[in-house]
Amino acid sequence: MTETATTGGFTPPTRFAVPGRIAVSDRAAAVWQTATLTEIRRETPSVATFRFAVPGWAGHLPGQHLMLRLTAGDGYTAQRHYSLASPPDDAGHIELTLDHVEGGEVSGWFHTEARPGDEVAVRGPLSGFFAWPGDRPALLVGAGSGVVPLMSMIRHHRARGLDVPLRLLVSARGPEELIYAAEYGAETTAVFTRRAPDGVPVGRLSAEHVAPLLAERPPGGWEAYVCGSNAFAEHASRLLVEAGQPVHRIRIERFG
């Protein structure tokens, strides 16, 4: 690693420095491509999945994101990052899942204007840091739309029939706000913070949810992927550290 070469033996006390998993293609990251909307699927009252045809898409790994750009008539542009929801084996197509943010400029356009046939610009895939190619046991922890890149990992795991251990802890306010609810299997534990079905406790993600998963500790240990709002990422990553997950094996994607 270059760290050792440049920092004269400096050892970071928290031992982050997990390198990116995947080299990102400079070319793919730099080029804007046209993505044509082909389908819109409602997931929850405020979340929908948008499927696009992107013929030149170079492929991606589960967990990566892209940058999306909308252009107004006067040349004004708005760009936002979105995680890829679809697995890699979806040739020429990608899917994004967007939360309708109150007053949101880009998510607002998607939820009120967009229809099949519309074109937007995308560049990517970006960041090899949060990527998971399916090679190591993965412990996934997400809340709200933070489950999007994690779902790409689960879909990849299923599509390829991988047997490397995979677990998901997903937090939502209530069952009706749980994105991809119908798609989860035995790998998933849902945590409901405000409303839950009968017999299911209500409350936020806690040490009790995390402890049994860490106790399972597969050979080589877990690679943890945490995704959601900053508040959730702070909370969840602290729980993982307190439960014994090494700091340098926690990757975090914060949606701002």
Partner: protein
């Protein structure tokens, strides 16, 4: 690129100082870091400059605070496309630290490294001439941990991933060496006015 049907964007007043592709985040200050926020007390914080310098040295919290105080007031720009105006950081100009260690004439670049292990690379010219700080205050208060407290590098004329949080040191080099995000596809320099977001831009 073609106009996006039905997209007008939010009503906007022209904002001087807003680089292309950026929007004004208003009071919001999003947090973007890929690692667990380290638990780092001021008493445990140190800052070191080494590599191509006449006298490498380290400062602890109290020693760093004996250097002349310096303030940055202005805007910051994140590659995820928000910019934040009217921010006020307090700390020490990096020039004050560099004056002590005296960079060699051969030094052209630096790698900034953090107490978390994060790294980022910068041309030395972007760190001198009153354009970079070690900052430990925000708005007159101690810098919050999630924003890099107790102390972060501040290079406000470049995208904010260059302003390494929890700064631990700088190593001066005679060549450029990509840091954490730069190895992950981000641009080597990151000038917001030229939209140097990803390598290849």
């Amino acid at each position: 690129m073609n106009v996006t049907r039905g997209f007008t964007g939010r009503p906007r007043v022209p904002r001087p100082g807003l680089p292309p592709g950026q929007y004004d985040s208003g009071d919001d200050w999003p947090v973007l870091s890929a690692e667990v926020t380290p638990d780092l007390a001021p008493a445990d914080w140190t800052f070191r400059i080494d590599g191509l310098v006449a006298e490498p040295r380290s400062w602890d919290w109290d020693e760093a605070h004996t250097l002349p105080a310096s303030v940055y007031e202005g805007a910051i720009h994140c590659v995820t496309s928000w910019s934040k105006f009217g921010v006020r950081f307090g700390g020490v100009s990096l020039d004050a630290f560099l004056d002590v260690v005296r960079p060699d004439a051969s030094a052209t670049h630096a790698v900034a490294y953090a107490h978390s292990g994060y790294t980022t690379n910068l041309p030395l010219a972007d760190l001198t001439g009153g354009r970079a700080w070690i900052a430990w205050e925000y708005d007159g208060e101690p810098l919050p941990a999630e924003h890099g407290g107790p102390a972060r590098l501040l290079v406000p004329h470049l995208y904010f991933w260059k302003s390494a949080k929890w700064i631990a040191g700088l190593t001066l080099l005679d060549h450029d060496e990509p840091g954490f995000w730069e190895q992950n596809g981000y641009h080597a320099r990151g000038n917001p006015w030229e939209e140097q977001r990803y390598s290849g831009d």
